[in-house]
Amino acid sequence: MYKYDEYDRALVQARVGQFRDQVSRRLSGELSEEEFLPLRLQNGLYLQKQAYMLRVANPYGTLSADQLRVLARIANEFDRSYGHFTTRQNIQFNWIELEQVPDILQLLADHDMHAIQTSGNCVRNITTEAFAGVAGDEVMDPRPMAEIIRQWSTVNPEFLFLPRKFKIAISSSECDRAAVRSHDIGLYLYRDENGEMLFNVMVGGGLGRTPILNELAKKALPWQHILTYTEAVLRVYNRYGRRDNKYKARIKILVKSLGVEAFAQEVEREWELIKDSDAELTPREYQRVAAGFEPPAYEQLNTIDLEYGAWLARDPEFGLWVKTNTQPHKVTGYASVVLSTKPGSNSPPGDVTGNQMYAVADLAARYGFSEVRVSHEQNLVLPDIRKQDLYSLWKKLTKLNLGTPNVGLLTDVIACPGGDYCALANTRSLPVTRAIQNRFDNIDFLHDLGDLTLNISGCVNACGHHHIGNIGILGVDKKGEEFFQVTIGGAQGKNSSLGKVIGRAFRVEEVPETIDRLLQTYLDYREVDESFIGMVNRVGLEPFKERVYKTEVGKTAALSSDTEVNAETKTGVPV
């Protein structure tokens, strides 16, 4: 992991002092709420329906065991004993008192953490995949570059008041587990035949009410130019991005209106003027940061561990878990383990209690190298586990309710907190999540369905990434009533695509039956080993539509299929 030096520490400490002063000026009335708003947002503080929510940054999803203990402490001492892991690999605490925020930030700063720029119209947390540095199919570890970009973008004075939020993701694996194509800037890091690090830079992606996948703006950018190129993109965006309408203010709208080629030319002109400057990255800096991500002291293990093999043969439940919840590791004899935060209807996706966090930190120290990851699917990951330890780890995870063997399956739902918490949501995403998890709790059936992503957003702002779920569910408000619109065919990764609406929307109680009909259609049509998304791509939407709408799902009145249009009139927008 990257280790803070004196400068990093001084910066987060000074920042706490600054925000403590700002909070006291807000409490005294010296700062109006309007003036305070962007200041608190840039420190991760939202005002939700019932309380303040604090979003803490987990840079590129990497945490030490000690840092996880700090998050556990915040959950137990300042919140209602739990935290919620987000699709940006961050964690948010939902029941926070404004007066206590400076103390929480102090606690974070004392452990080399912060909440800087987890919100606001600025560059947000840089994300990557949870298996960065350990994945078997990765070209190289993207985290040193993610850390370098994190530092560059942190309190960068020119870019703190952009037209809108700005999200950067980086991946160095061809199959892309970081959803890079739905980001404002998506980076693919690779090496050429001489071993030089290069980037493909994709610009103008984003979900929200106008979902767009980003497009290639610069191919084979040498690594030392990544900061100047990003600077050029942001300067063009800061100057020309729309500010008259916040729904049209993301860079995707600018890129779309100019066309990616014209936009890229504009960036190129700007970049030519700054690329050969002091802002060019140095090998020394890359090495300094990369030193923090040197592989830990792995043991030399055999490819085949007899005890592990024996448990696999003896305990089919263990085998099921290994199949879905472990990932191939680049080092022989190791695996990465995914801890499912979606045990079913008794716990909302991404929610983890303080006590669970303490326990996970202990397991990371005992079985791994004291490192924990957060995945953008809202799960936790222990990246370096010896295969010989998998069985005993699994037993412990099961006791902790973090061992549900459903990673990558239907019930590994990505969901936003929805109207139960969020002031912007116009529907509650958690009850519909619960209804689905209740209906489909047969683990053998889920495994038979295979890889299938189900993403749920409580409003058009799409925090639950419904556009890129194989099945996407979007909550829409119709005259004060909640309806849920279903899309299929969305995907993240190498073959990213946006889902298509199947037809009229449903009431919450109709959703499980609708999902069931979609699944039955898939089971009827699938060819050997064909995934849900593969079948949708091959056959198209028609058989699904026919099955779902042939007979009425429920007795309730149907909603017309143009609810997207109605949704446009909603005013809520995430900040």
Partner: protein, 174 residues
């Protein structure tokens, strides 16, 4: 202009008796002396004066709109004593990039003033981007605003005031 802070080599102090008056129609400050010899003109007025040759006499400054391209000022950069950039709302960050371009790219050396919704908590970022004076919103006391220039201003990236990014200085432990 009233309620204004100036800086000398980054050190801030209140500007008593600042002589400048904003003459731009939209940003017109009624309290300023419209007969002042020190006028900050709109780009259009500056261009009109240029045609009559008057701009060579007296002291002139110019105010840009947030969507004006600072490159338009290239012919006058040496003769302008002051350039004002606008923050229509403090959350509108276009002037930060304009400031960077004027200073970092076009080499403008004289006073660069922030006008409009100019508030304490943004002053340090403005200074980083090359602003040297600040017409603070008039309902805000300057004694408070000055604190904004004496607090947190650490960054990693380069800025106009720190042209070398931190990573080029880090090993020196500055």
């Amino acid at each position: 202009m009233k309620n204004t802070i100036g800086t000398v080599k980054g050190h801030a102090s209140v500007l008593h008796d600042d002589p400048w008056s904003l003459m731009d129609d939209e940003a017109l400050d009624k309290s300023d002396d419209q007969n002042s010899r020190y006028q900050i003109l709109s780009l259009e007025s500056l261009l009109a004066l240029e045609e009559t040759g008057e701009s060579q006499q007296g002291q002139y400054g110019v105010i840009l709109h947030p969507d004006d391209d600072p490159e338009l000022l290239l012919p006058w950069l040496d003769s302008l004593t002051i350039i004002a950039l606008q923050f229509p709302r403090f959350s509108d960050g276009r002037a930060y990039s304009q400031a960077y371009l004027l200073r970092g790219r076009y080499g403008y050396k004289n006073d660069l003033r922030a006008v409009g919704d100019v508030l304490r908590d943004q002053l340090a970022a403005m200074r980083h981007c090359g602003f040297t004076s600040f017409a603070v919103r008039e309902d805000k006391p300057l004694t408070d605003a000055l604190k904004g220039l004496n607090g947190f201003d650490m960054i990693y990236a380069r800025s106009v005031t720190h042209p070398e990014p931190l990573f080029r200085r880090r090993h020196l432990r500055l």
